[in-house]
């Protein structure tokens, strides 16, 4: 039953082919046998009790389409009574006393949380190697990274340790691991899903979304988690459409823009080949391709690496060893408490970004870095606005390469290049998606689709149509 999609599981549960408890136990067994290190915390007991509740609802017919469906929750979402670490030593002792809005929304559907997935510390990383809990292995090749920061979530879905998982995407953290693990992932428009209770990395870029086997599943989950939340001022007071409704619409005459900047030096030729092939598939379905230009997208990396560190340097200040989380042993005085709790509690990449951000916000540097970056960010958005006057959707690679070997990239700046094609969508606040599009050396390659603001329906529709014509999303790693 672990090869079934959410949509299929929903039908099976409804038809009483198996119970939610049986389904949950099956996944828990798979997790316990797995060596992927995809989970930081497995919530066996909680999951089984949630499954029992779900079974009761299913029995009396009061369940929803998602009732009883197990899922893996990225450890960045606060979950009441459950450790919420964000992959960091500094939050290793933190049991959240409250539920994130997203956690709450899945709870009221009577879904079953299997556990909390591994991730790069505070979502900073592209390989999941920055986790206090150790790296996650890619189910397609265990010597390879799963991508990051939602690496645990991607590996859990690809390894069928969970029917779907939640993720967050600040610079590509849903799309890049989805691409590297061969699953479907969508980062909605900024403001579509509440950020309340989602541990902040870079507040103006962070956005939560589902990581699934299919576009249809992504639509089902997005239906449940999207919407205005009065606890998040940046969430949009807009109605949420039923994302499953438009999945089957024809994409004939869909105008696809292909940004030439996404196919320059640095793109692996075998990845490029897969992307080009998938474009042909869309063309065959009646879509129209045209080359476009996003000239400022080449500045996405430097812009992102000012904006995100500035925000994170401030967001992570609350982790000071005073009220919760890790505190150093025997602090001499207040300064010592701050210094050692934070020095011992944060990993290298987090410290690096805190220092970059602190520097860039300092008096005398603010205008040259932060303000300049905001201006470029605006230009990047303007590029997209111009493009979306001509096209309905933009397509290109998610990542310049397929999954790379664990430990292969040691230089942080080289690692930053892994997100070169995904950062722009975050900087502009646009929805972006990764869908399985083929393989290169037996490793999955994802196709990225970027839509206009609030056009998740367009993305999901195009992705679903592609998945009706191709089988890439249902190819499984060995021994699953």
């Amino acid at each position: 039953m672990h090869t079934l999609s959410v949509a299929e599981l929903s039908k099976s549960l409804k038809n009483k082919e198996f119970s939610a408890v049986e389904l949950t136990q099956h996944y828990l067994d798979r997790i316990n046998r797995s060596d992927l290190n995809a989970f930081i915390t497995v919530t066996d007991e909680l999951a089984l009790s949630q499954a029992r509740e779900a079974d009761a609802k299913l029995a009396n017919g009061s369940g929803s389409v998602l009732t009883g469906i197990p899922f893996a929750q990225k450890d960045i979402f606060c979950t009441k009574g459950v450790k919420t670490s964000a992959g960091s030593k500094i939050l290793d002792p933190f049991i959240s006393p409250y539920d994130a809005t997203l956690s709450h929304k899945l709870n009221i559907e009577n879904m079953v949380m299997l556990g909390k997935t591994n991730m790069d510390e505070f979502a900073m990383g592209s390989s999941n190697e920055n986790s206090f809990y150790g790296p996650v292995k890619n189910p397609w090749n265990k010597k390879m990274v799963p991508g990051g920061s939602s690496g645990g979530s991607a590996a859990a879905v690809a390894g069928r340790l969970s029917p779907f998982a939640t993720g967050t995407d600040t610079g590509g953290s849903i799309r890049q691991p989805s691409s590297l693990c061969g699953i479907t992932g969508i980062k909605p428009t900024y403001g579509r899903v509440s950020r309340y209770g989602m541990i902040a990395y870079a507040s103006s870029l962070d956005q939560a979304g589902p990581m699934t086997q299919t576009a249809e599943d992504a639509a089902l989950i997005l239906n449940a988690i999207a919407g205005f939340d009065e606890k998040d001022s940046t969430s949009a007071p807009r109605d949420v459409p039923d994302y499953t409704k438009s999945l089957r619409d024809s994409i004939k005459s869909l105008k696809i823009g292909i940004p030439k900047e996404f196919f320059l030096e640095g793109l692996d030729s075998s990845v490029e080949k897969v992307i080009t092939e998938s474009m042909k598939e869309f063309e065959a379905m009646g879509a129209k391709l045209q080359e476009i230009s996003l000239p400022n997208s080449t500045y996405a990396i430097p812009t992102y690496y000012i904006v995100a560190p500035c925000e994170c340097s401030s967001n992570l200040s609350r982790l000071d060893g005073v009220r919760y989380g890790y505190r150093c042993k025997d602090p001499k005085d207040l300064n010592d408490l701050y210094l050692r709790s934070r020095s011992e509690g944060f990993g290298d990449e987090v410290k690096r970004r805190i220092m970059i951000g602190t520097y860039a916000l300092s008096a005398g540097y603010y205008d040259a870095y932060y303000l300049k970056a905001q201006k470029v960010r605006h230009l990047i958005s303007e590029d997209f606005k111009r493009a979306f006057k001509k096209v309905d959707i933009i397509m290109g690679p998610v990542s310049p390469t397929t999954a790379f070997e664990l430990g292969a990239i040691k230089d942080p700046v080289s690692m930053y290049l892994a997100d070169i094609y995904t950062l722009s969508a975050n900087l502009a606040g646009l929805p972006g998606m990764s869908i399985p599009a083929g393989f290169s050396n037996n490793l999955p390659v994802g196709l990225q689709m970027i839509g206009n603001y609030w056009s998740e329906e367009v993305l999901l529709n195009a992705a679903h149509q592609f998945q009706t014509q191709t089988d890439w999303h249902s190819v499984l790693p060995e021994n699953i």
């Binding site: 979402f77 606060c78 919420t84 964000a86 939050l91 933190f94 959240s96 006393p97 409250y98 994130a100 950020r195 309340y196 209770g197 989602m198 541990i199 902040a200 870079a202 507040s203 103006s204 009065e230 606890k231 998040d232 001022s233 940046t234 500035c310 925000e311 340097s313 401030s314 992570l316 200040s317 609350r318 982790l319 000071d320 005073v322 009220r323 919760y324 207040l334 701050y338 602190t358 916000l361 300092s362 008096a363 603010y366 932060y370």
Partner: protein, 500 residues
């Protein structure tokens, strides 16, 4: 008994200089104030927790106030409305688009490691307010800006021996920081300005003004410069001032300190100084070099605050009569002097009390004298707020009416007031029970006067010989004989008739 050894301390040149400072060197003081006014919203500025003062430590701090991972601020609209009330009351430029920024620094009572405040674009821009000067005129003090921000929690260092305690009940309480221009030239002016703002925020109902509980806090920026120079001297910022009295004291001793330094050829260091009310001194807290770089940047968790014209109109229309308007009305409508009107309108509660008396039919001038005289003195002496006065406006108005209708004299009325204060009943009962009613029976008064004239023939002779000052003596005798109950006007009139 050993002889007392008197030894006079020799007085040095510095002391002479200090004494004759005003003559030798003419300094001008420049003062600007930063006032933190706690807005009396029900809940905090970015969370739903209560703002009530005095609860058990950390019982009024929710997940947002504690700065838990993942929590987000949501702006309390009521706080915005209150800031707008203030802005409109001081005729300030309202920034209809303002933003919240993060002021980053580490301190244990600052849960998030940053304070959400306004920096580049505050909600209230330039405005002004008039203060009364000691010369009896008015002076306009500029208001640079007023911005919204959240308060921090409290650190308590003297509760435990080995560690400090933190109470986060106050964390997230809304503050309006009102920054003045450096327009004040003396401690007295600074106090007048602070009092004016203090009255205003209470008038418009945005702050309870309680200085003991820290609802209204003043920081003073003080510098001095040679008279007739344009350039400002190096300033120091005085903190920890929790009364108007201490504000005046702190500024004056800081002026002295700066004068000593400059006259000794030294330089004032730009720093923050803490006022110690017990020792009556200021001491250095941190210098400019030690000051934090707050790394302000727009808070990405909050949207800009955009104010519609309709809201501004609505708030403008909802403003009550402001102190200056009220003062002018008291002068024109009730014929009060500027001085009396200013005093009566200094506190809204005082003005309300006074007007309630007038609405009850009491005479305007006599009422003014009683409110500013006996009533204020008794309230001050017993440290009671006028809202809690044991004598209500209605009761005091009855007393004033009894004076005006000649039932009792002003002198007798003071005794009645005392009885009322002590809760011995209402005006008419006290007059009745103690037989204090004025004698108005002309025949009876004439009878007493005739007796006095008969018994004081010597004084009568002298009076008739031209010593008219003796009239007072006769009046005194009559009052003595009537236990003060004779109507002084009548007594004067009858005496004049009989003695001429």
């Amino acid at each position: 008994m050993p002889p007392i050894n008197f030894k006079l301390k020799p007085i040095g040149i510095q002391s002479y200089l200090r004494i004759f400072r005003g003559i030798i060197m003419a300094w001008e003081t420049v003062i600007g104030l930063e006032i933190h006014s706690q807005l009396n919203t029900k809940s905090k500025i970015f969370s739903g927790a209560s703002t009530e003062f005095g609860a058990k430590p950390n019982t009024q701090a929710c997940a947002v106030d504690l700065g838990l991972p993942g929590v987000l601020p949501v702006l309390n609209k009521e706080a915005v409305h209150m800031a707008l009330r203030f802005g409109l009351a001081v005729n300030a430029k309202i920034n209809q688009h303002s933003i919240f920024e993060r002021k980053n620094y580490f301190y244990p009572d600052l849960p998030k490691g940053y304070q959400i405040s306004q920096f580049e674009i505050p909600i209230v821009g330039k405005g002004a307010i008039d203060i009364s000067t000691k010369e009896g005129g008015t002076k306009m003090v500029g208001i640079t800006r007023a911005h919204l921000e959240e308060d921090a929690g409290k650190s308590i260092h003297d509760l435990y021996e080995d560690y400090s305690a933190i109470d986060l009940n106050r964390a997230g309480t809304p503050l309006l920081e009102i920054v003045s221009e450096p327009d004040m030239r003396s401690a007295k002016e600074a106090v007048a300005y602070a009092k004016k703002i203090h009255a205003l925020v209470q008038y418009i109902g945005i702050c309870d003004g309680n200085m003991q509980e820290g609802s209204f806090r003043c920081d003073a920026n003080v510098s001095i410069r040679k008279k007739d120079t344009e350039e400002l001297g190096t300033r120091t910022e005085l903190k920890n001032i929790n009364s108007f009295k201490f504000l005046e004291k702190a500024i004056n001793i800081e002026i002295e300190r700066q004068q000593d330094i400059l006259e000794d050829g030294g330089n004032v260091v730009q720093e923050t100084r803490l006022y110690d009310a017990v020792k009556d001194e200021t001491r250095s807290m941190r210098t400019k070099e030690e000051a934090n770089d707050y790394k302000y940047f727009p808070d990405p968790d909050l949207l800009p605050v955009d104010i519609e014209n309709e809201l501004l109109t609505e708030i403008k229309n909802s403003l009550p009569e402001l102190p200056t308007e009220k003062k002018n009305r008291f002068v024109s409508e009730f014929g009060l002097s500027d001085y009396d009107a200013e005093n009566l309108t200094a506190q809204k509660s005082l003005a309300d009390y006074y007007e309630a008396m007038l609405n009850d039919g009491a005479d305007a001038k006599v009422s003014a004298n009683w409110v500013m005289g006996e009533l204020s003195a008794s309230l001050n002496k017993n440290q009671i707020d006028i809202q809690d006065s044991p004598i209500s406006a209605k009761e005091l108005s009855e007393l004033v009416k009894r004076i005006n209708d000649d039932t009792i004299s002003g002198k007798i009325a003071k005794g009645v007031f005392k009885d009322m204060w002590e809760g011995n009943g209402r005006v008419d009962d006290i007059i009745q029970n103690q037989g204090l009613k004025q004698m108005t029976d002309v025949g009876a008064i004439e009878g007493i006067i005739d007796g006095i004239i008969a018994n004081n023939s010597e004084q009568v002779e002298q009076f008739k010989a031209g010593n008219t000052k003796l009239l007072g003596y006769f009046v005194g005798q009559v009052m003595k004989a009537t236990q003060g109950k004779a109507n002084p006007k009548q007594v004067n009139q009858i005496l004049n008739e009989k003695l001429s």
